[in-house]
C-alpha cells in the first residue's frame, strides 16, 4: 500500500532517503523536493529525533548487561560442546548429502576390499605354487642340454668333463 504525504510523495521515500536506500538519481530528486516541502522536512527531522532518542536509550540499556556475562558464557561452552560422536550425529541434517556419499563409499569399499585382498592372496598362492613346481621339476629332471653337433676329429676343443674322467 502506498502512503502519500500531503505533497503527494510516497511517505516511505522520506525514510528510504534517511536510511540511504534511495538510488542516486532518486536521492537527488528528493533533495530537490525537500527544500520546498515542510511536510517532508518535518518527517525527516522527526526520524532523526527518534533515532537519537533510541540511541541514548540503548547506551543506557547496555549498562544493564551483567558484568560477568562473557565469563559465564565461556564457562558454559565446554558443556555446550557435545562429545565427538554426538556432534557427528547432530550434523546429519546439515550435511545429509555428505553423509549419504560417505556411507555409499564405505559400503562399496566393504564389498570391494575383501574381493581385491582375496584375489591378491589367490594370485600370490598360484605364483608360489608355480614357482615351487618349477623348482621340483628342476631337482627331478636335470636341465635339458642343447644337442651338440658332432665335433670334427683332430680339432682342438675342450672336452666336457665326464664322470670318472682323470682317475
Amino acid at each position: 500500500m502506498t502512503h502519500r504525504a500531503s505533497c503527494g510523495l510516497d511517505r516511505t521515500a522520506v525514510y528510504r532517503y534517511r536510511d540511504g536506500d534511495l538510488p542516486e538519481a532518486e536521492r537527488r530528486t528528493f533533495e530537490g523536493h525537500l527544500g520546498g516541502c515542510a511536510s517532508c522536512r518535518g518527517r525527516l527531522e522527526d526520524g532523526d529525533a527518534l533515532g537519537r532518542l533510541l540511541r541514548i536509550r540503548d547506551d543506557a540499556l547496555g549498562e544493564e548487561l551483567p558484568k560477568d556475562f562473557a565469563a559465564q558464557l565461556m564457562a558454559r561452552l565446554p558443556a555446550a560442546k557435545r562429545p565427538g560422536w554426538t556432534r557427528l550425529l547432530g550434523s546429519w541434517h546439515s550435511h545429509r548429502l555428505l553423509w549419504v556419499s560417505a556411507v555409499a563409499v564405505a559400503a562399496a569399499l566393504a564389498v570391494l576390499v575383501p574381493l581385491v585382498v582375496r584375489q591378491g592372496a589367490i594370485d600370490r598362492r598360484s605364483a608360489a605354487e608355480n614357482e615351487a613346481g618349477l623348482r621340483r621339476r628342476e631337482l627331478v629332471a636335470p636341465p635339458v642340454r642343447p644337442q651338440l653337433r658332432p665335433r670334427p676329429q683332430g680339432m682342438f676343443m675342450p672336452s666336457p668333463a665326464r664322470p670318472g674322467a682323470g682317475r
Binding site: 502519500r4 537519537r52 555446550a80
Partner: protein, 211 residues
C-alpha cells in the same frame, strides 16, 4: 562481514575459544539490548543473550558468512526472544494499526516530535518523564516493530541486512519500518504534549525500574 569478524569466526570454528570470546565481547551489549527491548526483563534478556551466543557457537560450522556475524546473531536473538514470549503464554502482536493508514492523523504529527524534543534530545533524555515516556511508547509497539526499529536506528542495519536478520522480504522491511516509526512518533508526540516535566534522572534509571 568485516575482515576482523571473519578471522575470529574462522579461528572459533577451529576451536579457539579466545577468538569466540572476542566475538562475544564485541556483540554482547548489542544482543542484550535487543533482547531487553523485546522482553522488558533484565534476567530474561540476559538468558536469551546467553542462549544466543551458545547457539551461535554450536552452529558455527553451518554459518556461511553470507551476512555479517552480527546479523546472524540478531536473527538468533530475535527468534529466541519471540519463542520465549510465546512459551510464557503471551501473544506476539502482529496487528497493523489501522489508525496509521489515516493520512490526516499521520500528517498532524509531522515535525512535532522534533519540535517537542528540541534541537538536542540528549538534554531532554535526561528528564525522568522522557525515559518513561519512551518505554511506554515502545511497549505499545508490537515486538516485530520494536525489533526492526532498534536494529535500524541503533544498530544501523541496512534494508538488506534487516531482511536477513528478520527473515522477511525487503518490501516488508520498508513497510514495517514505516509503521514502527509512524506509531512511535505519534505516541511520543502525544505523550510529550500531555506530559509534565520532572526531576532530571537518566533514561537508564527509568528503564531499569521496569518490572
Amino acid at each position: 562481514m568485516s575482515d576482523a569478524d571473519r578471522e575470529l569466526v574462522r579461528r572459533a570454528r577451529e576451536g579457539d575459544q579466545a577468538a569466540y570470546r572476542a566475538l562475544v565481547e564485541r556483540y554482547q551489549r548489542r544482543v542484550f539490548s535487543l533482547a531487553l527491548t523485546l522482553l522488558k526483563d533484565r534476567d530474561d534478556a540476559a538468558d536469551v543473550a546467553q542462549e544466543t551466543f551458545l547457539k551461535a557457537y554450536q552452529g558455527l560450522s553451518s554459518f556461511k558468512g553470507e551476512a555479517g556475524f552480527y546479523t546472524w546473531l540478531y536473527r538468533i536473538a530475535n527468534n529466541l526472544a519471540i519463542d520465549l514470549i510465546r512459551r510464557r503464554g503471551h501473544t506476539v502482536r502482529e496487528e497493523i494499526d489501522e489508525e496509521l493508514l489515516d493520512p490526516e492523523a499521520a500528517q498532524a504529527c509531522e515535525g512535532l516530535l522534533a519540535t517537542r524534543l528540541g534541537v538536542d534530545p540528549a538534554e531532554e533524555a535526561m528528564r525522568h518523564e522522557l525515559g518513561e515516556t519512551l518505554e511506554r511508547a515502545l511497549a505499545e509497539l508490537p515486538e516485530k516493530h520494536r525489533a526492526i526499529l532498534i536494529l535500524r536506528e541503533v544498530e544501523g542495519l541496512s534494508y538488506e541486512e534487516l531482511s536477513l536478520a528478520l527473515d522477511i522480504p525487503k518490501g516488508t522491511v520498508m513497510s514495517r519500518l514505516f509503521h514502527a516509526r509512524a506509531k512511535m512518533q505519534r505516541l511520543l508526540t502525544g505523550e510529550l504534549s500531555a506530559g509534565a516535566e520532572g526531576a532530571p534522572v537518566n533514561v537508564a534509571g527509568a528503564v531499569a525500574s521496569k518490572p
